[in-house]
């Protein structure tokens, strides 16, 4: 802790970081808030379709894609003009999506249709659908691009999908209501959060087996209040940050021991998160308190909280 404190002191003394731009989808106010990471203020609010949730930059950093569930489409925002310029053909009620490393193919989880839609990002055309479990949500792709992971909230499974054949090759049962999936950067482990189960399952992607579980315990909080959702993994794969929903905390997890080392207090119902590209800061969306908390990653300290629109859900930061 002493070292962390000293580090924080040094970082305060250092020159200000390069400014990045973060886009936050506000599920209830149907807007996207643009945050400048230098001044930590909302610089623009963009009106989008109904119920925006999943949000991500294209790999080239030129566009922001946002899934507007109640409009059954994905809108494309030009990052320069900060205005909607196009839409992508998803299935009904798109929630979360992921893209391959090259940024050519987009995979969208359609919550109400039990399918994953495959979209060609260059042609902006729909390539096909993959049938998955009930209420698909969590989406991630393996670093080598060969395996797509989808978690289905009601089936309680992580589906392993071969991206070339677009067929499910394995299903791994996890704790109730899996919300989010994240690979380690070295592909050795897949982490899946279970909202109702209150755990994060660690899966061996080669064997398709749960090899460990991360559990959470916060003194003074009921077990039901701890609902793991978003997961953020540092580039060195040593530390994972897990958003605990209504527990209003981010758990800092040592990935080697799979034990929580610290809980950081953020706003209410913390949902998803995104690192700045330099990995100096981690931004979390706090749905009920309508704000975004900024975590100093090295010091493991919450340094600021910024007011955004109603029910902030997803967040993405320009590469």
């Amino acid at each position: 802790m002493l070292r962390a404190g000293l580090l924080a002191g040094l970082m305060l003394a250092a020159t200000p970081a390069h400014a990045f731009v973060a886009y936050v989808s506000n599920e209830k106010s149907n807007t996207v808030s643009v945050i400048d990471t230098d001044s930590w203020t909302v610089t623009k609010t963009i009106k989008v379709g109904q119920r925006p949730r999943g949000i991500e930059f294209t790999r080239d950093g030129k566009f922001v894609m946002v899934a507007v569930g109640d409009d059954d489409t994905i809108q494309v925002i030009d990052a320069k003009a900060q205005a909607i310029v196009d839409t992508l053909p998803s299935g009904p009620d798109p929630e979360l999506f992921t893209q391959d490393a090259a940024g050519k193919t987009l995979y969208v989880a359609n919550e109400n249709d039990n399918t994953v839609t495959v979209i060609d990002l260059e042609k902006r055309a729909r390539l096909g659908d993959i049938q998955v479990g009930v209420e698909p949500e969590g989406m991630t792709i393996s670093p080598d691009g060969k395996t797509l992971i989808n978690t289905s909230e009601t089936t309680n499974m992580a589906h392993f999908i071969d991206t070339s054949s677009r067929q499910i090759v394995a299903n791994v049962l996890v704790d109730p209501r899996p919300r989010f999936a994240e690979f380690k950067h070295d592909s050795s482990e897949l982490w899946v959060s279970s909202e109702i189960g209150g755990t994060v399952s660690v899966i061996d992607p080669g064997k398709h087996e749960v090899i460990g579980k991360v559990t959470f315990e916060i003194p003074g909080l009921r077990k039901e209040a701890i609902q793991p959702v978003g997961i953020g993994m540092t580039k060195d794969d040593k530390t994972a940050f897990v958003a605990l929903g209504p527990a209003n905390r981010i758990a800092v997890v040592d990935t080697a021991t799979r034990k929580v080392t610290k809980y950081l207090l953020v706003g209410q119902r913390v949902w998803h998160m995104a690192f700045t590209p330099d990995e100096k800061y981690l931004l979390t969306t706090n749905g009920v308190s309508n704000d975004v908390s900024v975590i100093d990653v090295a010091a493991q300290k919450v340094i600021k909280t910024i007011q955004v629109g109603e029910l902030p859900w997803g967040i993405t930061i320009a590469p």
């Binding site: 802790m1 404190g5 924080a8 305060l12 003074g220 207090l265 953020v266 308190s289 600021k304 909280t305």
Partner: protein
């Protein structure tokens, strides 16, 4: 007490003589404090009990608000730390006033008051000495609190110093003003009941004022008018490198009023202090 104050206060002392007097009084107070280990320990244990035990049960009291000067959500422990710092100074201020009563009862005060230097200066030295002692206690507490994850920015430990000196002087002079009216040591329990507790609880030390306002608007006004609230807020902002101007003005003004009042009250030729057998020298 009257027997020692019959001659006029001579004028024209050199700066060095003033300093000799100041260091003498501060040194005595410091020695007295260091020799009373129990006092040091109890001065630390009191806020730590609040921090470790009381705070654990009151975590929900802050709700979901972000209260300036904080820029994000904080745990209750972090919120009450400045309040506990002010509590240390409050108790210390009252304790040095207690020692004034003791000195008077025991006759030690005669030694102090026979000094040819102006009485106002002597009392001011006494106040400074008490404040210096409170600073030792506060920084010891802040170091322990740091390990309890109460980690204000490093610069805050420096910027809080002037705020601590000012609030220490205010609470010390208030104690001195009160002690001038206390005849006997036993009456100190009354000070506890009528001064320390109401001041501490009707302030922003333990709960944010908007919470108090929710419960009772009248109590909110009482808290607003309580100088201790402003001492707490002054310390809170200073600990995070900021200045709360209103609190600074209130604490500054109260310090002047209490100090002038104390000097006036301790002047037997005009004073409010009742002279009688309890004075020890009467």
């Amino acid at each position: 007490m009257s027997s020692i104050t019959t001659r006029e206060v001579p004028r024209g002392f050199s700066f060095q003589e003033y300093m000799t007097c100041l260091t003498g009084i501060v040194w005595r107070e410091g020695l007295r404090f260091l020799h009373q280990r129990e006092r040091f320990v109890s001065a630390l244990v009191r806020p730590l009990v609040w921090l470790f035990i009381f705070a654990a049960g009151f975590r929900q009291v802050l709700g979901i608000s972000i209260i300036p000067p904080y820029e994000t959500y904080i745990l209750y422990e972090v919120f009450i730390a400045p309040g506990l710092v002010a509590m240390i100074q409050l108790f210390n201020g009252m304790q040095s006033s207690l020692s004034m009563v003791y000195d008077r009862e025991m006759g030690n005060m005669r030694t102090l008051l026979v000094s040819p230097l102006p009485r106002g200066f002597l009392l001011f030295c006494k106040l400074l000495a008490g404040t210096a002692v409170s600073l030792l206690q506060v920084y010891a507490f802040l170091i322990i609190a740091w390990f309890w994850d109460i980690t204000p920015p490093p610069i805050g430990y420096l910027t809080v110093l002037p705020a601590l000196i000012l609030s220490g002087l205010m609470l010390g002079s208030l104690g001195m003003l009160i002690s001038s009216g206390i005849k006997q040591l036993e009456n100190f329990a009354g000070v506890m009941n009528f001064v320390i507790f109401p001041m501490f609880f009707a302030s922003s030390a333990l709960y944010p004022l908007w919470r108090v306002q929710e419960g009772s608007p009248y109590l909110y006004y009482v808290c607003q008018a309580n100088p201790f609230t402003h001492a707490v807020e002054l310390i809170r902002f200073a600990l995070y490198g900021q200045i709360n101007w209103i609190s600074l003005a209130v604490v500054g003004a109260c310090t002047i009023v209490f100090m002038v009042g104390a000097i006036f009250a301790y002047d037997p030729s005009r004073g409010l202090a009742r002279r009688g057998p309890a004075g020890g020298e009467g």
